[in-house]
Subunit: 129 residues, 2 copies
Amino acid sequence: MVLGRTDDTGACCPGLLTAPLDEEQAGELAKVFKALGDPVRLRLLSMIASRAGGEVCVCDLTPAFDLSQPTISHHLKLLRQAGLIDCERRGTWVYYWLVPEMTDRLAGILTRPAGEPLPERTAPAGAAS
Amino acid sequence: MVLGRTDDTGACCPGLLTAPLDEEQAGELAKVFKALGDPVRLRLLSMIASRAGGEVCVCDLTPAFDLSQPTISHHLKLLRQAGLIDCERRGTWVYYWLVPEMTDRLAGILTRPAGEPLPERTAPAGAAS
DNA sequence: TCTCTATATTGACAGTCTTCGATTCAGCAC
DNA sequence: GTGCTGAATCGAAGACTGTCAATATAGAGA
């Protein structure tokens, strides 16, 4: 995982707004954002993240959508592969919960450092002459 | 735009981690994340956002990729439709810049409130029986 | 005017994604 | 063991996406 690192370098978020991403970073990040790029998955994620107790049974998620059970299962799998949620089987049921490290990382990547408040747009940057 | 609102309600970020999204919110948000869900667009965005001066000429972006000019133009259009960047024609050239309000909004949506540090996973939440 | 350069748009094709019904797998209860 | 229930996987159909070559458009300059 090449995304954001909050510890080892000391820098909170190398990314996106401060320096051009290289191809590998962009590929990794794109996978996660792609997982977020679907309304059903966003709703699933928000239902999981906001649930009191921190986890949700699939049996509570599926009936909230006008979609088949395999479709919901598929979306949950994609969210899990993106590292946004994790799950555990407990008896007959399966419970999902948010992986907050990943959303924290994304938030950091999208946050511009306060000290260097994004290059203000200034002038044509000397283009046309 | 239904996304994040930083002013009118007083709340900084209704979203995603604190309460289930409704269908409309999820649809709007998904469009933006979908725009971020492609490595080429992420690299374009980071090149635009990190550029000193705050804006970039398309003529500086296109040669950085092994892609045709129409393809880059297409990706820029999608980023613009998502509200992440904006542009202006200036003579023969077109300049793009970041719309920081949108990335701020996304960062807020992905940030959990410090006071209510995400429901700690506790127990099965009384599911079975 | 005509020509040249920089971007955008169009149309087409290949690949990917979302969705479903059917099936399979895991665990509980009898 | 058999049967039942909850969830995941498989395979296929249709929609959508990323890419290109070709073309169109906007502006500068002769």
